[in-house]
Symmetry: C2
Amino acid sequence: MRATRFFISTLKEAPADAEIVSHKLMMRAGMIKRLGSGIYNYMPMGLRVIRKVENIVREEMNRSNAIEMLMPVVQPAELWQETGRWDKMGPELMRVKDRHGREYAIQPTSEEVITDVVRSEIKSYRQLPLNFYHIQTKFRDERRPRFGLMRGREFTMKDAYSFDRNVDGLKQSYQVMFDAYTRIFTRFGLEFRAVAADNGAIGGSGSHEFHVIADTGEDAIVYCPSSDYAANMEAAEAVAPSGERAAASAALTKTATPGKAKCEDVAELLAIPLTSTVKSIVLTVETEEKGALHKQVWLLLLRGDHELNEIKVSKIPGLANNRFATEDEIVEHFGTRPGYLGPINTSLPVKIVADRTVAMMSDFVCGANEADFHFTGANWGRDLPEAQVADLRNVVAGDASPDGKGVLAIQRGIEVGHVFQLGTSYSESMKATFLDENGKPQFLQMGCYGIGVTRILGAAIEQNFDDKGIIWPTAIAPFEVVLCPMGMDKSEAVKEQVESLYAALLAAGVDVILDDRGQRPGAMFADWELIGVPHRIVIGDRGLKDGMLEYQGRRDTEATAVAVPDMLSFILAKLAGK
Amino acid sequence: MRATRFFISTLKEAPADAEIVSHKLMMRAGMIKRLGSGIYNYMPMGLRVIRKVENIVREEMNRSNAIEMLMPVVQPAELWQETGRWDKMGPELMRVKDRHGREYAIQPTSEEVITDVVRSEIKSYRQLPLNFYHIQTKFRDERRPRFGLMRGREFTMKDAYSFDRNVDGLKQSYQVMFDAYTRIFTRFGLEFRAVAADNGAIGGSGSHEFHVIADTGEDAIVYCPSSDYAANMEAAEAVAPSGERAAASAALTKTATPGKAKCEDVAELLAIPLTSTVKSIVLTVETEEKGALHKQVWLLLLRGDHELNEIKVSKIPGLANNRFATEDEIVEHFGTRPGYLGPINTSLPVKIVADRTVAMMSDFVCGANEADFHFTGANWGRDLPEAQVADLRNVVAGDASPDGKGVLAIQRGIEVGHVFQLGTSYSESMKATFLDENGKPQFLQMGCYGIGVTRILGAAIEQNFDDKGIIWPTAIAPFEVVLCPMGMDKSEAVKEQVESLYAALLAAGVDVILDDRGQRPGAMFADWELIGVPHRIVIGDRGLKDGMLEYQGRRDTEATAVAVPDMLSFILAKLAGK
């Protein structure tokens, strides 16, 4: 490609509404252009990256025997009503009426449509397993679109759906996709991690997220550096501390802690470690029984330095539909307002659940259910009955790994892929069955597998940039190599050399752009550093008089002189990762 | 590709709602699957054809220095309001509100968005010319979607937009696109014709449609077999008959024609040719002048066997906003009801326009403005004043070609492409300017260029099918070659031969499918004839014992025996069109 036949549009400054680095750099590099809130034009430079991402995804999906098709953007409401998602999904689901008043969804995902296709196409177990995928425009009406392609409203996604005869088959199909995703993210050239995930609201069992590692990532991901354990924060298990609970050594003492409602303040006042304190979280669950509203108040106990994990809490029997208790409910059950609550001497009985760590504590400090007072020296079994124990908290760095093979570390990630065992949730609600070997109808076992194609661009940049701009991995760079001639219009030698190298690179199948715009070197270099092309060759009279060209990798701090006849093989070796 | 790793789903019968052959065959061949009215899933077999069409389009657009980008499906209403199309477009424009109540269009086309992009990107004449294109999903809420992909609601289209400094530049950009389209449709392997078109409601001047020729096409296209003149019916000019008008030879005579309101019936009653009769069409134009409604009645005269061309009529000064006159208006002006109207002796004055052919008639028959009476022997200048003359009618086969090089013929076509000189209509309404050499702002000269990607599939089939199924041109066939082994699971020789040929074809870059489903020959052949793969190779023990394979082209009536070692070069020659 010649730059004069392409469209290059760079900006010195990012627009004010660009908050994060990938958004700023994509705007400045002319990769995207805002059309509306969370809606972007993909400019020619950005589209090249998208196509490279799509092609890698497509190749690896095909290699895994997934079959490409294309499902529509505008999907009839009836299918979404069959699964109940028409009502369950909130305003994120963009809805539209046609001229006859019929309702449609602008698709955010295609479980309903693929299940509709498959239930009419699949008759027999002999047709299984099957895996269909498509790469399509999607829309999610985010309440607050932001961060460019990271949380846009219109975006491109690859979604695949597998269909199997039984759970074993599903697990196999899932593993095939897991492996394909591992190849895909490896080929992108991005540092990533697959982490066990909660199976969430979508139903089913078994799920992994693929995260691109980046300090700016909005998700915390948990891993064990000495084993292959990895999970997202929602799913990472906090195991019980090892060993026995220490024996009580202090007496239960009501201690004045005036104005110290937080564990941190109490610890400071009493000059004890925060890890000796216990904090109280009060939840309410309302259920309707025979038309009457029944209200149950729960007290959850966490060590003072730990954080509640709401996903884990919602899985405790009886706590699925909890909410935080109101102040009135708290006063009614504890006899005091929040800040001094604890498990001892509540006004009314409450159900108590202690986190695994709290259940192993002795001589701990907790609220006394009286304003401005805490108990010190509290001990299980002696001062209060042993409570129900559960994993209630987020793990922290240094926690023991659940696989027993070391301690956990935490890093930030950006979720770009998700594989999910759906089971029969969709096939049951949409009556998608096949006939098994005995001629009996069975529900199809489904899996779903997504990759946020346009989101990859944002994530790749969050991981790979410097103060000059983007640093694309070669596999998804808009161009692999840029040729920068110095004074092409003035020097015949430069013109000849750059044209011959350009032709040789094209012939070798290299995705090269020749910057023939005639810009000054400073502006030209700044453009390509901003755009992030990974390999740059400078052709100038100064080097040519010694028969040399200049190579510089985007991460290199200095240029390398390469003799003219060696440059082609030098670049091919670079592109081959040598 | 192995058939067992692909998804093949054929039907014996087409669904009842499939009305035309391409729709029926695409449904039966498992290329598309209906999701809703005018909305289809593109199944794996159909998507392969779409991708081949897209790739040819993309290659030729790139070759023409058009630059690919991607504009969104969901577009803010504000831009559509700037050009007035938000109001002008009827319910065909699908409109949607987001969670904040803001309005958006589901794009049917992207003139507004590209003009918005360009007005902020283009500052100077030095950046011009430019041509941007995208291949994107579009939606048009047709009142009555039908004919499968021919008149669907959701469809894929390539649309390109050129930007130039002046009309000369626009004309050059237009010609480049015209030539690209010619290459594209030639590469598809379809019989097509580019025809001059009316510039329609979109504004601007200069337009051609590209039609795929098919007897079932819904458009009549006009061409001259002995020259390169071609136009669609709206635009084809009906020239005046050559020579002089014959002198009057009969007297004007009021003749009783009781109950004969139509020219055909009058001609039959009077035993004269239909070409001696003149029919009357009455139009009304209402204009508001200084708050008062002014009404003008027009009488258009056509030869009895000719048809009115409404596009031509609307271009006559004063007739832009015409409607058919009401019966009351007719009675008021002509003193009689429709059926016996004519230009002689009207009750009130009307403006008369004679078609070019009518203006050359003498001794003609027309209504006498009295029920059950016609005039015979009517003559211009003698019985009524010479009237305003214009081209009012559709051409018919045998009319003189406007280029004077022969006579016109008419064939049926399916419009699949359209190139259009928009001029400054969009740039003016959206204030898209550039600075010229003198630093003065000028409006951008725009062109737009569309190809209905998914519609190509329907049109290709309407042109190429037989009673067995589809006959794809090789360039856009889902597979170029199908290998049909006879008893692959029983014969080691067949298995060995088919695998070796399959590997050789893949290595030669042939897009081949190996049908390893183990079906009976009859069913297998029927599937591939229905799907329309252009080249078939049968591998069976019967031929192999003589060292032979069987080749049959999809249009061949008989198979050709080809020696095993010759088959690869034989097929490569076929694919090269030899």
